[in-house]
Each structure stands twice: as structure tokens, then as C-alpha cells.
């Protein structure tokens, strides 16, 4: 029996210890990451309180199917990212430990203000991690928007606190129907705006290109998989379990998320660099997952979270490695790169095709499931728009893969003289990552129950079932 608080306390303790014992910091990082992966898999459904104070008064940690699912993905992708890009860790091991603790805390906490605190720790560590590639302008943008977002979130929860007098999530959920509609509208708008920054939703995602588009192999993997998972899962928790939206507010928020999806994919279509394409694709995917959550399809959204986290982990790590070792991530300059590194190319291609949702891949299964359920509960607008954006997504990913495998002009036979002179170093770790995750995605494509068995309760709510 593992107490979920250890998932937060152990990385944090190791972070403090790593300041004292500078020489052992990487060892402590490895230990904490391994411990967290193990603990996440062993975690049972439970609820613990901190300090012995009963929930509405003290802070509680909730480990239900939802958060355990998120924790397993989060800790696994974090570990894979750290191990495959271990040469980029350098001085940042303490920051990584703190961010691991904070992401776990975000997933587990059952208190709205405690969520704010963990959100701040996670985003401050993210600011520091984003300085790894010395692109400070992007970092500054991120700091300003992130601080604005967290202040708005704080304002929102304070309005709710002074109206109903509680900060606990479960207690808030039971009292939220008492609140006056106008006050609720205001508070939820602030909370949504605050979360939109971290979850990369529409008006507040100006930082994404500067940070994701300039990431290296380590920070890219961690931002696009671990941070994205934690942020979108918390978005889902807040807007499906605690505040159930309906009426105009739901329409407005759904419009924002669907627009995020479409505009993200259109922006990704026009990018020339792999990392900025992936950055806008992340924005689009965040919009898609948020749309699924807001439509009440939590189960499908969680499946897409898993698909997105695994796919983006591989793609961003490899794209970051291209930047670090080849010096560029321009698609034109890197044509034919995967001919030199076939295993890496295999993982990257599987990940991309699964994200797009090509038949025979896991993503296809998720998208069909999502669309059929959306048709059942919604008008035809949202599914149609999702199909349209998926088409755009498919076009640019396949175009990118074609260039990377097949040098030369599109549709022509490949010519070796176009093949890039650049190549990657340190390929062993990346190849292992790519093959492992690629094979795993192929495995779950044929055994989708592997992912869904843990969240069967969430899925049973959906019409049609599995």
C-alpha cells in the first residue's frame, strides 16, 4: 500500500538533498524518477488527508481511477524523457525533481488553492527548463502570460470561496449549484482563462511557439508530454467533475476549444520547422482534448491524452535531438534524415501516424470512437469541424514524413544527392525510445483494452460502451 503523498514528498526531498550533495544530483534524479514510476503503477484507489484534518478544512489528495491513469502516463513519459535525453540534464536535475513533484501534486490534489500552488511550482520550473536553449524572449513571454493566468485563476477561486465558503473540490462541487448565475459566470471565466494559459487554449497560447518551438530534446519531451498531460488532465478534472457547464457558457467555451483546434492545425500547416509544426500541433491537440472533455466524453479524452503524450514524447524528443546535434530542424535541410537512422524514423513515423489517426493505428480507434459519440450527443458541427482539422493534420504530417524519408521533390523518385549531410549523435538512447514507444503504440492499436481497462468506470458512462 503506497501513500500517494510519497509521490510528491520523495522527489521534493531528493530535490532539497540534491542542493546539499551536488555531486549526487543525477543519481538522486534517477532514483526519484524510478520510484515515482513504480509508485504510480502500484497506487491503489484511495484518498488521504494531509495533517489529519478532515477534507473541507484540510487538504486532501485524491487517487481515483482518473488521477491514477494520469499519474501512470505522466510518470512514465517523464522517466522515458529523462532517460533518453540524459546527456541534456546537466545542471537541471534539481529543477526536474521539483517539476516532477509539482506535476504529481497537480494530478493528485483535491483542493483548489493547493492546485494553484502546484501549478505555480510547475510553471516556475517550466520557465527555468525553457531557458535551456537560451531563447529568453520566449521564456519572458511565457512568464508574463503564465503569471497573468495564475492570477486570474486565483481571482476566480477567491470569488467562489467568498460566495460558498470552501476551497475543497468535492465540497465545492456539491455547493456550486447554489451560486448565483452571474457570479458563477464571472468566476468560471477567470478560472477558464487561468487554465487556458497552461492548457494552451486560444487567446492565451502566444507563448507556445517561443517555448515549444525552441525546446531541446529534454525540455521538448517534458513540456509536450508530461506538462501537457498534467495541464489537460487538470482542465478535465475542473470542468467535468467540479464545475459542470451548461447553457451559453458551455457553448462559448466549446467554441473557444474547437477554434483552438482548427487554428492550431492551420498554423501548424504553414510552419517550416519541425519543432514549430509540432508546437502548433500540440495547441491543436489540446483544443481537441478540451473539446472532448467539455462535451462530456471524459473516457475518450483520456484515451486521446495517452495517445498524444506517447506520440509527442517521441516526436519532440527526436525533433529536439535534431536541433541539438544537427543544428537545425528545418524540414528542407533535413530531407532523408531517417534513411540514416531507420529505427528513429520508425518510432517517429508510428507516433505521427497514430496522432493523425490513420487506420490500423491507435489514434484511428480513438478518433472513430470520439466522432461516433459526438454525433450521438451533439449537432453535426463539432464532428464535422474535427474531421476537417484532422484532414489538415494528416496532410502536413504525411508531407513531413515523406520529406524526412524520401529526399527530393514530392511525388518524385528519391535521389540520394538530396539526402542531408547532417546526422544525429547519441542515437542509441533515442533509437531505444523510438522503438519501445513505437512498438507499444502498435501493440495498443491491436489491444486497445490495455489502455482502457484502468478507466472502465469512466468509459461505462459513455453511450455505446466499448
Amino acid at each position: 500500500m503506497i501513500n500517494p503523498v510519497l509521490l510528491i514528498a520523495i522527489p521534493l526531498l531528493f530535490a532539497f538533498l540534491s542542493v546539499m550533495f551536488k555531486k549526487a544530483d543525477k543519481g538522486l534524479l534517477v532514483l526519484a524518477v524510478l520510484f515515482n514510476v513504480l509508485a504510480a503503477f502500484l497506487l491503489k484507489e484511495t484518498e488521504v488527508v494531509i495533517g489529519g484534518w478532515k477534507p473541507p478544512f484540510g487538504i486532501n489528495l485524491i487517487a481515483d481511477q482518473y488521477s491514477i491513469f494520469g499519474l501512470i502516463i505522466l510518470n512514465t513519459v517523464f522517466a522515458l524523457s529523462v532517460f533518453s535525453s540524459f546527456s541534456s540534464v546537466k545542471k537541471y536535475s534539481t529543477v526536474l525533481l521539483v517539476s516532477l513533484a509539482a506535476l504529481n501534486g497537480m494530478m493528485l490534489t483535491g483542493d483548489l488553492f493547493n492546485l494553484f500552488v502546484f501549478l505555480e511550482i510547475a510553471s516556475i520550473s517550466a520557465y527555468i527548463l525553457s531557458t535551456m536553449t537560451k531563447k529568453f524572449k520566449g521564456t519572458f513571454n511565457y512568464i508574463i502570460l503564465g503569471a497573468l493566468g495564475s492570477n486570474l485563476y486565483l481571482l476566480g477561486i477567491i470569488i467562489l470561496y467568498s460566495t460558498v465558503g470552501t476551497l475543497n473540490m468535492a465540497d465545492m462541487a456539491s455547493k456550486i449549484h447554489l451560486v448565483n448565475n452571474n457570479v458563477l459566470l464571472l468566476a468560471l471565466t477567470f478560472i477558464f482563462a487561468g487554465f487556458a494559459v497552461e492548457a494552451k487554449l486560444m487567446p492565451f497560447n502566444g507563448w507556445v511557439k517561443g517555448v515549444y518551438g525552441n525546446a531541446n530534446d529534454l525540455s521538448g519531451g517534458i513540456f509536450a508530454s508530461a506538462y501537457a498531460t498534467a495541464a489537460i488532465m487538470m482542465f478535465g478534472r475542473i470542468f467535468t467533475n467540479i464545475f459542470v457547464l451548461d447553457g451559453t457558457l458551455k457553448t462559448i467555451f466549446l467554441t473557444i476549444t474547437v477554434l483552438t483546434f482548427i487554428l492550431g492545425e492551420i498554423a501548424a500547416f504553414s510552419q517550416k520547422n519541425i519543432r514549430s509544426t509540432l508546437a502548433f500541433s500540440s495547441v491543436g491537440q489540446a483544443g481537441l482534448i478540451a473539446t472532448l472533455f467539455l462535451s462530456g466524453l471524459s473516457g475518450v479524452a483520456m484515451m486521446q491524452v495517452a495517445n498524444h503524450a506517447l506520440a509527442k514524447l517521441v516526436m519532440f524528443t527526436i525533433a529536439g535531438a535534431m536541433y541539438v546535434y544537427a543544428g537545425t530542424d528545418n524540414i528542407e535541410k533535413l530531407q532523408g534524415l531517417f534513411k540514416k537512422h531507420k529505427l528513429i524514423g520508425f518510432g517517429f513515423s508510428v507516433a505521427a501516424l497514430s496522432l493523425v489517426g490513420l487506420p490500423i493505428f491507435y489514434g484511428f480507434y480513438v478518433k472513430i470512437f470520439a466522432l461516433s459519440n459526438l454525433f450521438k450527443i451533439n449537432s453535426y458541427w463539432i464532428p464535422a469541424l474535427i474531421l476537417f482539422s484532422s484532414l489538415i493534420e494528416g496532410i502536413y504530417y504525411i508531407r513531413m514524413l515523406a520529406k524526412l524519408w524520401n529526399p527530393g521533390e514530392e511525388g518524385k523518385e528519391s535521389k540520394d544527392e538530396y539526402t542531408t549531410k547532417l546526422s544525429l549523435e547519441n542515437t542509441f538512447a533515442y533509437a531505444v525510445l523510438a522503438v519501445v514507444v513505437g512498438l507499444f503504440i502498435l501493440y495498443i492499436s491491436y489491444n486497445p483494452e490495455f489502455i482502457t481497462q484502468g478507466i472502465s468506470n469512466y468509459l461505462s458512462n459513455i453511450a455505446g460502451g466499448m
Partner: protein
């Protein structure tokens, strides 16, 4: 100029949106008017009466014994007892931002000011800094009785260090020892939390007797935790200042 007008219009819309909705009247629970707060509907009602886990009547200063949270300062009892987990996170925020500043500004030499400090400044600082240091320590030791606590106390220590930096061009704290103090205080906070987990079954459980409300040795682990917080905040902010005053080597 155009941009300013648009921004001003946007702010105006936002202002109307906030004022219109926040102070609206109608069905359901409304946002309370300034001063007209009904505490009995809020969770803090139980924090005031110290009966979150049961009834124990009215709490009186220097009389009530073994209350569930024995601190006379209610803010302190919330910060380091009822919501101690938030404080742990807060300490971590400072920790990680000081760390980030250190990673980015790791210059070797110290920034020099244009005018060298004169004798009066040097002598004055020596007297005042001592007083500030003692006040800071007093504030975080008495955090559970009087206003103040680990955060202001720790920052007072840091401001004494800041005064030394201003008054002496050559002054540079022994960064290593501060780093060590920072790590130790943070680890001890967590170890106390884990001790609570093993002794009481809850992380950050207050496992010491809480004593009589209002006495110096009361409130269980609250003063101890606040001392750790004070030391940690003090050393972190001192590190921060020292990093801000460093320059790329010459």
C-alpha cells in the same frame, strides 16, 4: 496610440463585465458586500474556534489547553497546521526560483557600485543589521503568538544581508554555507512531515502536544516548522540577492 485606445476599450469592457456580474442581485448565493461577511458559512469558522475535528467550545487565551491547533495566531495555525501542505509548496516556489536565478546569473565577481560606501554607512549598517537580524529571528520564533512568522522573519534576515552587501563592496556571503542551510531546512521540513506520517498516520501530522494557547512552548510542531521556514526563506533570499549582485567574471 491606436493600441492604447483599443487596450483602454478592452479594459472598459472587462470592467463592466466584472462590476456587472460580481455585484449582481438575484437568485442564489451572491458575492458578499464588503464587510458583510458571514463567517459561519465558511470553513474558516472552524479554524477560528479550533474545532475542525470536533467540538470544543470557546477558545480562551492562556486558558484553553490541548486545543487541536494550539497557536494563538490563527493565520499561523492555518499556514503551518491546517494548510501546511500549501506552505511546503510555497517554500518550494522560492527554492526553485532562487535556484533558477542562480543557474542563469552565476557570475564569478561581485558588482561594484559607482560610489564607494562611506564610513558612516558602514558603521551604521553594522549596528542596524544586528538589530534587524535579531528582530527577524524574534519574529519567526514568535510566529504562533504575534503577527509575523517564517516568511517576514526570513526576509528580514535577508534584508540584513542586503544591507551588508550595500555597505561593503567586498562583502560576499559564503554561498556554500547558505546553500547547505537551505537544503537542510527544506529536508527537515519534509522529514518532519514524514515523521508525522509514521507517527500519526498523516503527512505533516502535528504529533507533539499542543499545550496552552498563548504560551511560547505551545502549538506542537508549528513553531519548529516556522523556524525551518524562516531559515529557509532567509537563506534563499540571501542567495537570490547575492546572485543578483554577481557579474560575469573579469
Amino acid at each position: 496610440m491606436m493600441k492604447r485606445v483599443i487596450a483602454a476599450l478592452l479594459i472598459l469592457v472587462l470592467a463592466l463585465f466584472i462590476y456587472g456580474n460580481l455585484y449582481s442581485t438575484g437568485e442564489g448565493k451572491l458575492f458578499p458586500k464588503f464587510g458583510n461577511v458571514n463567517l459561519s458559512e465558511r470553513v474558516s469558522n472552524k479554524f477560528i474556534n479550533k474545532n475542525a475535528n470536533g467540538e470544543n467550545g470557546v477558545v480562551t487565551y492562556k486558558e484553553t489547553k490541548d486545543a487541536e491547533s494550539g497557536s494563538a495566531n490563527m493565520v499561523t495555525s492555518i499556514v503551518v497546521n491546517y494548510r501546511s501542505f500549501d506552505t511546503l509548496g510555497e517554500v518550494t516556489v522560492l527554492f526553485v526560483s532562487a535556484l533558477g536565478v542562480g543557474l542563469l546569473l552565476s557570475g564569478k565577481s561581485r558588482m561594484k557600485f559607482k560610489t564607494p560606501p562611506n564610513f558612516i554607512l558602514k558603521a551604521g549598517v553594522r549596528i542596524i543589521a544586528g538589530i534587524i537580524l535579531i528582530t527577524g529571528v524574534y519574529i519567526f520564533i514568535h510566529g504562533h503568538l504575534t503577527p509575523g512568522g517564517g516568511f517576514p522573519g526570513g526576509s528580514m534576515i535577508a534584508s540584513a544581508v542586503l544591507l551588508f552587501y550595500i555597505s561593503d563592496d567586498e562583502f560576499r556571503t559564503k554561498v556554500k554555507s547558505f546553500k547547505f542551510l537551505e537544503g537542510t531546512a527544506g529536508s527537515l521540513y519534509l522529514i518532519f512531515g514524514l515523521l508525522g506520517l509514521t507517527m500519526g498516520g498523516y503527512f505533516l501530522y502535528n504529533f507533539l502536544p499542543t499545550g496552552v494557547v498563548g504560551e511560547l512552548f505551545s502549538a506542537g510542531i508549528v513553531p519548529i516548522i516556522y523556524i525551518f521556514v524562516g531559515l529557509k526563506v532567509g537563506s534563499e533570499l540571501s542567495n537570490l540577492i547575492s546572485d543578483f549582485l554577481s557579474e560575469e567574471g573579469k
